[in-house]
Subunit: 236 residues, 2 copies
DNA sequence: GCCCGGTTTTGGTTTGGACCAATTGTGCGA
DNA sequence: TCGCACAATTGGTCCAAACCAAAACCGGGC
């Protein structure tokens, strides 16, 4: 049962392309479609997701623009995204942002971002969030995978605000976060025990979001930040 | 002979969108469609050029990406290209950020930014701030000049945080703000009376900063935002 | 004169279909 | 076995149509 996402039966207008993008990008980030692998043909994807081929193409256009896939006429579409992305060029800001500075900015934007997301997210977007959440809950020991899923979760939240400025700003934050994990490597402290703690936190966060409980969700977001802070301080 | 492009009679495949782009961009550059002017509706263009509306939209997508036009649903597509080249290329995010969305993001980041700035600013940076402030207080009626000085004031505050991430994010905010003033033109409501009100606010803000009074400064920042909001709403 | 509600216009999204061009795969014949 | 032509597959382009939502427009009623 590879199709864990919502079938677009309720078919909210104007959300179909985003739904396809979120579905596919999640699959890529979670390596359901592995790096270098060929993903299903456009016609197949269209049928599986229950949308027109044009819609799939629109989504693939954007994924290609993000550099996640590469397309060759007559051949297929291939995943270029590399989770261990040693090669990608990070923004210069990310390079000069320290872990603490990152934490400060996250503390500013994330609690408010959740508030906005709760107000603006469509049921379909929440469903996409739940898909990522369930994948996070399946993680036992793979810290790297968990970190990637966390990023996807947060990215979906940012998208959920529907505010281009917020999304753009938060992309900078995510860049810095990726850089931070790469250099500081404090995910070594992400033991199975800690992963379990985080899973509990994200679960609570999601439930608050699904219940549209703004204060509760914002509070969970702050708790996660504090937990991150603790992790950060443990590292010489 | 204004139409120098191929008529699509021979209809080479894969050349139709380019043909439309070239035709329209030529008309825009030659000011056949003047700056700020509304160009024909997509349906009209499709009929005139003998192509499908989809094709016209594809072409308009790219012209919009180039920053030559701006589209508003229900209203039309307008030429933003300025032959006198004053229009520096704005970031794409700025273009798609609405005034209200800008205000939301400012509400998130500015009050916290002031807090950080107060803690981190050096006496020299505060001195720089006071210089800008005095220039602002000298303004009587020149709304444009006042807006530019406001931007400088805020930029100094962002710099004052010493946090590269915050600075980078706030640069996006400032881009959007500049764009907002360019399109919405709500600085027309910036009458001398209102300028005086703002001057008073900035004066209080600066004094709070100089006194390192965090709560007071953050409060002044919020007040300025509320005042902006009021200005925004007055614009029918 | 002004406001308010319905109507029209305009861009935005999605569908489904047709055809083209590049690539891959296959099977037949030399 | 090798090679070439044909067929199938895949992405690329374009078209026609339908419906939605935001904006603008317009006319009657106060």
């Amino acid at each position: 049962m590879p199709n864990s996402a919502l079938p677009p039966t309720t078919s909210l207008p104007g959300a179909t392309v985003k739904y396809v993008i979120e579905t596919l990008s999640t699959r890529i980030v979670t390596q359901e479609y592995a790096t270098e692998e060929r993903l299903p043909s456009e016609r197949q994807l269209a049928q599986e997701l229950g949308v027109a081929r044009n819609t799939v193409r629109e989504a693939l256009d954007q994924l290609e623009a993000r550099g996640m896939i590469r397309r060759r006429a007559g051949s297929g579409s291939f995943v270029t995204y590399d989770p261990d992305g040693q090669g990608e060029a990070l923004s210069p800001v990310a390079a000069e942002t320290g872990p603490l500075q990152l934490q400060v900015m996250r503390g500013i934007i994330e609690p408010e971002m959740v508030r906005l997301a709760i107000v603006n997210m469509s049921p379909r977007q929440i469903e996409a969030l739940s898909v990522v959440l369930s994948k996070m809950e399946a993680v036992q020991t793979d810290a790297a995978a968990f970190v990637r899923l966390e990023e996807e979760f947060h990215r979906l939240l940012a998208e959920g605000t529907g505010n281009p400025l917020v999304i753009a700003c938060y992309n900078l934050v995510l860049d810095a976060r990726r850089q931070s994990f790469r250099t500081a490597m404090y995910r070594r402290h992400l033991t199975p025990t800690r992963i379990a703690i985080y899973q509990q936190g994200y679960n609570g966060l999601f439930n608050a979001i699904a219940a549209r409980d703004i204060e509760e969700a914002s509070e969970f977001m702050k708790l996660a930040l504090i937990e991150d802070q603790r992790l950060l301080l443990q590292e010489g």
